[in-house]
């Protein structure tokens, strides 16, 4: 930290995202501060209230190196159009906000990176958007639209992934899982259970169920659990409630993924009225 920054009372408790000064309180991450200030940083594996994870890497931002952070006037302009060479990449959801950080977020270069990462998530799994129950309510799909993704770009991996339809009310289709671990964390941290985990490694990593048979039916998952509803894609679905809302009135027909507070909207939307 340069002496210049520490002595300046204005930058003491603010960070700068794309030229906009944003206040934060100690303990907040860059993501926390940004969302609180109404600044959207794309994310999939993050959900306020759950332990930040930093795995999907949609929220990558660039922090300018400290040595140059004090003269920022012309950097703001530059940052709009190119990756700052002397910067480091961090996950906004896990990186603590530190006074004086000069952060690039909504830049064409970073959004291009995010688009590529989104394409990676699409091609490693088996996504069936047009016929998926989650179509229109899916954050991955909405993210793809948000980032202007028109195709998967890379060859499909066409992996074989197991479906678990054993549970009476909840369906698990690993074909559509993006390994964000939102269900893993929701089950542990909100539901007070431990229903899900990730096993395997590399491209073979997959969601497993913490039960003797490995099947959902033998777990203590209930329809009222947050873990049953938090899936941002169509991997965990509530049975017998697919396609209830017609096209045109689904979550992302009415909302943008970049709306602040969309997490709450999404969660309300997928919870059925009679639950």
């Amino acid at each position: 930290m340069s002496a210049d920054t520490t002595q300046n009372p204005i930058t003491q408790n603010t960070i700068t995202i794309d030229g906009q000064e944003i206040p934060f309180v100690a303990g907040q991450t860059i993501m926390d501060a940004a969302l609180a200030a109404g600044v959207y940083i794309p994310h999939l594996c993050h959900k306020p209230g759950l332990t930040p994870h930093g795995s999907c890497k949609l929220c990558v931002v660039d922090i300018a190196s400290r040595s140059v952070s004090s003269h920022n006037s012309d950097r703001r302009v530059q940052a709009k159009f190119q990756v700052v060479a002397d910067s480091r990449s961090v996950s906004a959801c896990t990186m603590p906000a530190v006074a004086g950080q000069q952060i690039s977020n909504n830049t064409p270069a970073l959004n291009e990176v995010r688009k590529t990462i989104t394409q990676m998530l699409f091609i490693e799994g088996n996504h069936i958007c047009p016929s998926c129950e989650k179509c229109g309510d899916c954050t991955l799909q909405a993210m793809a639209y948000h980032l202007g993704m028109l195709d998967g770009h890379f060859p499909q991996f066409l992996q074989r992934r197991a479906v678990d339809a054993s549970h009476p009310t909840v369906m698990l289709d690993r074909d559509r899982c993006i390994l964000c671990e939102l269900c893993v964390r929701a089950s542990r941290e909100v539901d007070g259970k431990n229903v899900f985990a990730i096993a395997g490694r590399g491209i073979n990593a997959h969601l497993i169920v913490n039960s003797a048979s490995g099947k959902l039916v033998d777990s203590d998952l209930e329809t009222s659990d947050m873990a049953a509803h938090i899936c941002p894609v169509g991997a965990i679905l509530i049975k017998e409630h697919g396609y209830e809302v017609p096209i045109g009135r689904r979550t992302f027909d009415l909302h943008q993924v970049g709306e602040i507070g969309s997490e709450e909207i999404i969660l309300t939307k997928v919870r059925h009225a009679d639950e």
Partner: protein, 603 residues
């Protein structure tokens, strides 16, 4: 009905045997990796029932045991053979190292395909990442024991011994011999420390003096990252916690690195002395040596050194009669996961979990093992610390360069006359190193292993050090005859296999890079594919979660920059070639129908 009751009693029987095996393993060591290893040894796999029983016995979530079982390469859910043979696939000690496919050769002798267990259950065969025998020619592990200097006659004899079901004890003992091969000794290898001499010297100093000697020495982490060791220790000492821990990273997994193997074998006392110095400096009572599973054969030796040190009051309660100075060291053995060389993944593994790198900050010095302040250092760093405490910081600083004090122990392998261990002062040129190891006419050198830097012959005057060519110790020489693209493809397979799968860029990106390079090496790539490689490699490097992903694309990026012709000469000269190869797609059908005639091909 009868069938059911037979099954029931069999099940009860199996579970009884399982439970007693688990109890026995736990009595030895209750660490999850150790218990699973014991079960793998005894039952040749870890079944779903075994997972359930282990979870119940250790009071762990079933999903954790299951996840760990699936994460580590040396645990298997389906039975391996009574002889489980793993060929290294490293470019230096791998089954292709001699230019002949030794794994395929053994496969023909034993009628077995890599990745499988023979139907009679006698033998299984597969490949594994570098086993650290790069100075010994092609090498394999049989039931965890390394056999080196493989050639076709040795493969023949191995096949015969397996078929004869000869116990490993009756195999020729010289096959299992692993030499130190120390070619050039410097500061640390020149003379071994008298046992305990460093600790006695340290006790004449106080904690502050010990710390200041380490800081003054300019010692930086020998794993490659190069953080100041003294500062790390000081941060750890200052961090608040219920306990402080000292961890030695002996998960030497970087292909081409084997210096820790030699240190563990011949300088274990200095290593434990260094860890004890660290414990004194940071106020730790407990230390762990995390030994890579491939070096399990060193475990009895290391245990005996620890036992002797306890007898000599160099470990345990009130070390050397110093009231309140208590410290002991346990060894935890890994099970085949390169990622556990990353310090926070190593800590996760120490805690009995999958080796997934943690989010940082916080760093291990404040939140490490069990959330407590923890120092994680490389094997070589600890022996350097032991020497520094004895001889003083000035002695250490007298060698090396301003920013890179002291010496570096190199593991040299590949196309050279005398592969082995070479210790040099920092600042030595690559050219000097190549001259000493008899590498004539090298076209390229991989400094620091696949995650390091690939340099060409125009760069041989560059110097080893944190300010130029940083290295954890691996130095692989590639002569003019080497197919560099094959080397880069090998490294891409390595990283895709070792990616932990946590973050998207590395999980998917390393697989894309592997597939894309395969297309190019297979003669189906175009200019477009090269651009794609560059694009994906840059993203993987810049956006991955940890050091593995951030360095996984280095061989490709370095290769594209320094050896573009090695890629270009394989390209198809039109703009686009589909990934889908009709003829290759028929391969499975050909195998099933046992046909390979012209009509079974599409060209």
């Amino acid at each position: 009905m009868r069938n059911v009751s037979v099954t029931d009693s069999n099940t009860a029987n199996t579970i009884g045997v399982l439970r007693s095996a688990i109890a026995e393993a736990c009595a030895e060591s209750p660490h999850l990796l150790h218990v699973l290893h014991a079960l793998q040894q005894q039952f040749l796999h870890i079944s779903d029932e075994a997972v359930r029983e282990v979870a119940a016995h250790l009071d762990l979530p079933l999903s954790q045991v299951d996840a760990v079982n699936e994460f580590y390469s040396f645990f298997h859910k389906t039975p391996r053979g009574r002889y489980d043979i793993l060929f290294s696939n490293c470019t230096s000690c791998g089954y292709m190292a001699g230019g002949v496919d030794l794994m395929a050769m053994l496969g023909r002798r034993l009628d077995i395909v890599a990745g499988n267990t023979r139907s009679d259950g006698l033998v299984s065969m597969d490949q594994t990442s570098c086993i650290g025998m790069c100075d010994h020619g092609a090498a394999l592990l049989v039931n965890g024991m390394p056999i080196t200097r493989l050639d076709d006659s040795r493969i023949d004899r191995i096949a015969a011994l397996v078929e004869a079901e000869a116990p490993l004890e009756d195999w020729p003992p010289e096959w299992f011999q692993v030499d130190d091969n120390i070619r050039v000794s410097g500061l640390l290898l020149k003379d071994d420390l008298t046992v305990g001499i460093g600790l006695r010297k340290m006790l004449e100093l106080d904690v502050a003096d010990t710390l200041s000697e380490i800081i003054q020495s300019g010692l930086r982490g020998r794993g490659g990252a190069g953080f100041s060791t003294g500062m790390k220790w000081q941060f750890c000492r200052e961090a608040q916690g219920a306990a402080h821990y000292v961890v030695c990273n002996a998960d030497e997994g970087e292909p081409g690195t084997f210096k820790d193997r030699v240190i563990l074998h011949s300088h274990a006392d200095s290593l434990f002395e260094g860890m004890t110095v660290c414990a004194f400096a940071v106020g730790a009572k407990q230390g762990y040596l995390y030994l890579r599973g491939e070096y399990r054969y060193l475990l009895p030796h290391l245990q005996s050194v620890l036992a002797r040190r306890r007898e000599l009051a160099l470990l345990g309660v009130d070390i050397l009669g110093q009231p309140g100075f208590s410290f002991d060291i346990d060894i935890v053995v890994g099970a085949g996961a390169y990622i556990c060389g990353e310090e926070s993944a190593l800590i996760e593994s120490l805690e009995g979990k999958r080796g997934i790198p943690r989010v940082r900050p916080p760093f291990p010095v404040t939140h490490g093992y069990r959330g407590q302040p923890t120092v994680v250092n490389n094997v070589e760093t600890f022996i350097a610390a032991a020497h520094i405490v004895l001889r003083g910081s000035a002695w250490f600083r007298a060698e090396g360069t301003e920013k890179s004090a002291g010496s570096k122990i190199l593991s040299i392998s590949g196309d050279c006359a005398t592969p082995g261990i070479y210790e040099y002062p920092f600042g030595v040129t690559i050219r000097q190193v190549l001259d000493d190891c008899g590498a004539k006419n090298a076209q390229a050198v991989q400094v620091g292993g696949p995650s390091g830097t690939l340099i060409d012959s125009a760069e041989f005057d560059r110097r080893l050090g944190f300010d130029d060519l940083s290295t954890g110790g691996s130095l692989m020489v590639f002569g003019q005859a080497r197919d560099l693209l094959a080397v880069i493809v090998n490294f891409a397979h390595f990283f895709a296999h070792e990616s932990c799968g946590f973050c998207t860029p590395c999980r998917v990106g390393t697989a894309l890079l592997k597939n894309g390079l395969g297309k190019i090496a297979g003669g189906h790539g175009t200019r477009y594919d090269l651009d794609e490689m560059q694009h994906i490699a840059t993203l993987v490097k810049c956006r991955s979660h940890c050091g593995l992903g951030q360095t996984a694309a280095n061989p490709i990026l370095d290769g594209l920059q320094r050896f573009p012709q090695t890629f270009e000469q394989r390209l198809v000269h039109h703009d686009f070639e589909p990934h889908f190869d009709l003829d290759a797609a028929l391969e499975e059908a050909r195998q099933i129908s046992r046909r390979d005639d012209a009509a079974a091909h599409i060209e």
